[in-house]
Symmetry: C2
């Protein structure tokens, strides 16, 4: 019997999950849930239906795991606990600062269900790599770099600047900083030394370009602490050259055993950030289904899941093929 | 109360474990076990004592986890099950071909104990990376490269060649092959295309160098399938330039979601192969102690261990600091 998956929210990640499910032959898409107007959402999976959020409570016996593919800012804090009370769930909640509170809320809600939170790639397997490498090399330093790739959060921040019609922001890791970290010197690096930011901005007609550029570059937290470059382009150029969502990232752990140095490096290069996030969510949905069957309820993170639970292969096959 | 660790076998890995224990403040060295003449083994840890293998049965209440630091060829198959019947154990058994049989033997022995097998870096966390990345990107290909670094197995094979006094062998990954894999083309690669082998050989006096070189290069399995270079050097040069045990390795998973390609890469660069192996063993010893407390007995692999069990930090601290 396949793991029956429900998708909540049909944006980039939700569509990614739908695309990835057929690559995982032990899973199938049972239903997609949208906030309103399900009749206007056309999905690609024959046999699966689109429902509203309100219909979910009537489908608890038709779905094994819900993958929550809605935003972390307002949707997940509201919808996450509701779904976790009714279903096993997986999400890619990514507001780092409030994850402990989110964990607590979900943990209370998931009294009889298993809810894996923050199981994308960052937070998610990047966090797993940081944890694993720190445990193996306790005497050392951990570094993370992001990009080259599109940051949705920073792109959205630019879109809110007066005079901006549309924008895409690329986060670029500093080659110099990456090289220094990789060499094993465990350097002290400032925010500015680690990443630069490249902004492709479509201005509104007759907008004050100098003001837009200044508003972006001085924006606290998002840009003020970085070397930021602003390129003004046309809407056509943005659509043609900047509509993909690639991303990349690096986690380093440089540590030592006395006089001997050791470097662990984990890197990702992704053509599509949301589709790779979807890959992670489906693997953790498999784990959620299994942990739930074992009665291992409550909120879980990537730290709690035995790696074998992510694979459709059984224990002895994993040992034979991969150990 | 600290996790009391016993080391069985005081070679490179055993000494590495002793060196790493103080970096893990929740662990302490309780005892070292050697096959014979314990009075001749001088260890560095004040308060810990050296015993013979035979003494172990009298120390079951003094030790929480035994780290088995003896060879995979003959020692572990014999000693592993004996210790796993009496203690929680961790080892770095690395004879890939017979791991399933070893797992079965240990699993039977560890009826009331937890025994984590093959928990070095390969097999070990390299296997974990292969498993994790395959589960996340089911439609793809996995590649492993080893080196640049010393292979003990290949060095030993050369030492058995007639006319060879001593030797060190370096395994070198092909830069071209690594570049091709990293680019995401998922190429088909032969054994010869992936690695080359560099041998530093000290010949015996008046040995036939041409014959030694030919014997090495044509040795089945070890060298015949590789482009191998043989350098003859003096004993002094070997001692001066080739007595360290660095190693390195790479695991790649190139996969796709439809038209989009994704690359996961995990790499290690190690000044000391045995000391990094020791780092892994101590982290998995922590996990073995915890699984045993929970009654989760039997043979385990890196696939079975939740990552959080490797860390001395508690769950909420891990979430706050690392998720």
């Amino acid at each position: 019997m396949k793991i029956r998956i429900g998708i909540v929210g049909y944006g980039n990640i939700g569509r990614g999950v739908e695309k990835v499910i057929p690559q995982n032959p032990d899973t199938e898409l049972a239903a997609v849930f949208v906030r309103k107007n399900p009749e206007r959402t056309i999905i690609k999976t024959p046999g699966a239906r689109v429902y509203t959020f309100n219909d979910a409570k009537d489908l608890t016996d038709k779905i094994d795991v819900i993958i929550l593919c809605c935003g972390s800012a307002t949707d997940l804090p509201e919808e996450g606990p509701k779904y976790a009370a009714m279903f096993n769930t997986v999400d890619s909640f990514d507001t780092h600062a409030v994850i402990p509170q989110y964990f607590e809320k979900i943990n209370k809600a998931a009294a009889n269900k298993t809810a894996v939170i923050a199981a994308g790639w960052d937070p998610g397997i990047f966090s797993a790599m940081k944890m694993l490498s720190e445990a193996i090399l306790p005497d050392g330093a951990t570094y993370s770099f992001w990009g080259p790739g599109v940051s949705q959060g920073h792109s959205n921040a630019i879109r809110k600047v007066a005079g901006v019609k549309d924008a895409v922001q690329y986060t670029i890791p500093s080659e110099k900083a990456v090289k220094e970290v990789r060499s094993g010197t465990n350097p002290q690096l400032t925010t500015r030394q680690k990443h630069t930011r490249e902004c492709y901005v479509v201005p509104e007609e007759n907008a004050d370009l100098a003001k837009i550029e200044n508003d972006i570059k001085t924006m606290p937290y998002y840009f003020a602490d970085y070397d930021t470059t602003v390129h003004f382009i046309t809407e056509e150029e943005l659509l043609k050259n900047h509509s993909k969502m690639p991303h990349a990232g690096l986690v380093f752990r440089g540590g030592n055993t006395g006089e001997n140095k050791h470097m662990m490096e984990f890197s990702l290069k992704l053509d599509s950030n949301p589709e790779f996030t979807a890959c992670n969510l489906v693997a953790y949905a498999r784990a959620a289904a299994r942990m739930s069957k074992e009665g291992n309820f409550g909120a879980k993170t990537v730290f709690d899941v035995p790696l074998s639970y992510l694979s459709p292969k059984d224990g002895i096959t994993l040992i034979r093929e991969l150990l």
